[in-house]
Symmetry: C2
Amino acid sequence: MMFAESRPGRLVRAPENFLDAEAIRAVQSGRRDFLRSALAGAAAVGAGTAGAQSADGEKVILEPQPHATSLGKPVAASPYGMPSKYESNLARRESPGLTRVSAASVSFSPLQGMFGIITASGLHFERHHQGFVEIDPAEHRLMVMGMVRAPKVYTMEALMRLPSVSRMHFIECGANTGMEWGNVAVPTVQYTHGMLSCSEFTGVRLKDVLAHCGADIRRGRFVLAEGGDGSGMTRTIPMELVESGEVMLAWGMNGEMLRPENGYPLRLVVPGVQGVSWVKWLRRIEVGDQPFGAKDEVLHYTDLMPDGTHRQYTSIQEAKSVITSPSGGQRLTATGYYTITGLAWSGRGKVARVDVSVDGGRNWKTATLQTPILSKCLTRFTLPWVWNGGEALLASRVTDSTGYVQPTMRQLRAVRGTRSIYHNNAIQNWQVAKSGEVSNVQL
Amino acid sequence: MMFAESRPGRLVRAPENFLDAEAIRAVQSGRRDFLRSALAGAAAVGAGTAGAQSADGEKVILEPQPHATSLGKPVAASPYGMPSKYESNLARRESPGLTRVSAASVSFSPLQGMFGIITASGLHFERHHQGFVEIDPAEHRLMVMGMVRAPKVYTMEALMRLPSVSRMHFIECGANTGMEWGNVAVPTVQYTHGMLSCSEFTGVRLKDVLAHCGADIRRGRFVLAEGGDGSGMTRTIPMELVESGEVMLAWGMNGEMLRPENGYPLRLVVPGVQGVSWVKWLRRIEVGDQPFGAKDEVLHYTDLMPDGTHRQYTSIQEAKSVITSPSGGQRLTATGYYTITGLAWSGRGKVARVDVSVDGGRNWKTATLQTPILSKCLTRFTLPWVWNGGEALLASRVTDSTGYVQPTMRQLRAVRGTRSIYHNNAIQNWQVAKSGEVSNVQL
C-alpha cells in the first residue's frame, strides 16, 4: 500500500548509461554545472538511453493510439474538473486509529506525490475537532466585540466589500510529525509531515476590521477568535501579529472560495502560526487585555517539558524541512540518477538555504531552491543524486532568514524531552536499503 | 443568469456611513492613506455601520446555529475535496453556439468570481480541437527526433526522472477577447477574457531534453511540438525560446498531475506564448532548420490584416489587463465603497504598473499590485472606489516591464483592422449605469 501510494514514475528502472563516469564524479563532487556535463555526456552515449526503445518508437509512429484517431470528450464535460482516474491513488488519507472518532481526526496530504509549493485544494489536509460543517454564506455572521468602540456584526457581503489582499502561505498543524517524539517511526511522509499545505489566501486584514470597529489596541493587546463548529474552537492571537498586517479574515483559497472542510465561508489566516489558530468557520472576534486561556491553548496544544511543566502559547512554527521523494514507502528500483526533492518552510520568515545529506549528516550539499521564495510560505528544493546501490541515509536541513538552523531529533529532545506531541521540527531521516526500500529511521 | 453568475457578496447593499465625507474626498483625490482615514472615519460613526444588525448579533449569541451544536462530517469524507454546494454556480462554461461541435470548442473560466492569481484547476479554461482524451501515463511515450544526434523515445517514468523545475505562469488562448474585434460586446468577463488561467507548472526544461538527445541547435533553429489527440495539433516553437530555459515539458499543475482536459500526462509550457502552442498530450518533438508551416500556424491562429494579408507566427501575448469586478453582468445595488479589482499580464515579462479609470480614460489612477509579481504570470490589482450613483466607465491599462502600454481598441484597430480573430489585447471598458447595471461597451 505504501508502495502504491508513491507516485509511479519516480520509481522506475534507471535509464542505462544515463550519466557517464565524468558526470557521476561531477555529481558526487557537487559541481554546479554537473547537469550540463551529465546531459552532454548522456547524449554522447546515443540511442538506447533514457528508456528509449525502438519498439515504442515504432508504436508511436506506426500504430496511432485510438485516442489519436477519434473524437474526444467535449468541453465542460465537467463544469468543475477533476483529476484523471489514473491519479485516484493520490488522495488525502486518515491515519486509522489515530483518534476514536473520525469527526475529530486528521486527514493527511500526500506529499510524496505532490509537486511545487501550491497544494491542490482537493488534497489540502484536514484537522477537525468536531467534524466539518457546510455553512450557507448568506446566513453566516461575524461579530467583532470586546474592547472596541463600535462592536459590529458583519455579513459575508459586508466583509467582502472591504479592501482585500491575496498572499501565499503555508499552514501546518502544531501536531505535525508529533508521533516521532515517542520513537514511533511513521512509515510515509504523508503520515509524518502531511498535516502541511500551502495556498494563496484572499481576504481582509484583521487590522483593518479592528480599525473599522475602533479597537483599543493600546490596552487591548489580545484577540480571541471563535469558530462556528461544534467544538467551540477558541484561540488567543497576540495583537502584535495583527498589527503586522499579516493576519487575515480569509474567504478565498487558490482563486475560489474556501472549501467547507477548510472553514468556508470564513477562516482566520495567521501566517507562521500553527494551524489550530487559523480558526475555521470564524464567527466571533473579541479584543481583550490578556490571553483568554481557552481550553485549546492551556490544556491542548501545550508542550509537556522534561520537568513536568506545560509550555503554553508556543504557536510559531519554527523552521522545518523534509525530503518528499525519495521518502518512506517508496522504492528505488535501480541504481543511477535521482532528483532528491522536498519542502522547507519557516514561521519566522523566508527559507534562506537548504542542505541535503545522503550519509546521515556527515556531509551536506546545498540544494537548489525553486522561486519564488516567499515569507511564511513553502519553498521547494531539489538536489541531483546518483544512487550507487549501497545503503544511504537521506536528510534535509533548513536555515531560515533569521539564521535559525533546523535541529536534529537528538538536539530537540535534549531540550524538550520525549513526552511532547506538538512542535516537532526536527530533521527527518530516510534510510535507503540495498534493496532500494526507503524507510523512516530515527538516529 | 449573468447576475447569477457573478459572485454574491460583491453586489450587496453598501453599508451606510461606511465612509465619511472626508474619506470619500480622500478616495476621490486618490490619497494613498485614504484607507486609514476611511476606516477611522467609519469607525467613529459607531454601531449600525457595515451591515451591523443587532438582530443578527443576538442570533449569533443567543441562538446557536444547528451546525454549532452538532457533530459534523468526518475527515476524508471526500478523499479528494470539492467546493461547497453553495458555489456550484461558479463554473467554467461553454459559450453556446460558438462552434458547431462541443468537442472542438471552448469553456471559459469564471474570472468574475475568482480571487488572487492562481486558477483552481477545476476552473481552468478549456480549448480543444477534437475533444480531450484520457491517456494512461504508463502507455504514453514522447519521441524526440529530427536534427538530433540521438533520437529517443521517453516513457513518462524516464521523463520524470530528469531534473524538474516549478514555475507560475499564465496561459491565454490567442483567441481570447476575439469577439470584440467585430464590435460584438460579449456580456460578461467570463466570455470576454475567460480563456485565461494561471497555475504553478512542474516539469523538465525542453532545453535539457534536447541536450540529452544531442540536438543540433546551431542549424536546428526550430522545434515542432505534436499532440496526441485526434486533431494532430502541431506548432512550431523558435529555438530562442527553448534556449531561454523557459519552455518546459510539464506533467505537474498546482501540485498534482495535469488534468486530462489540460493535456495529462504531458503538455508543453511556453511562457508568454498563446495557449495553442502549449501542445497538450504531447507525444513528439522534432528539431528542424525552418518553421514547419503546420496548419494551425499558417491557416489558423493568423491575423487577417486590413490589406488582406495574413500575419503568421505572431504568438507572443502582448501586455493586457481587465477589471474582473465590477464587470459586465454584475450590478451595483447601492452607492458607496467598492474595490475595483482585476488581472494584468504580459507575454514579454513582468507587469510594471496598472492604471485604472472610472471616467472612460480621461483620468487615471495607479492601482495597487498584489505580490509576488512574476514574469509571464498573472498579477492581481486593486483600487478603492466610491460609486456616487452616476454613470461611470471603468477601464484598466497595464504597462509591462518593457515599457509597452496596453492600447485602446481604436489604436489597435488602426493597425489591425476589424477582421482579426486573434491577439486582441485592447483596453476593456465596463459601463456602470445609474441603475448600477454593469455592461460591456466599446468606445
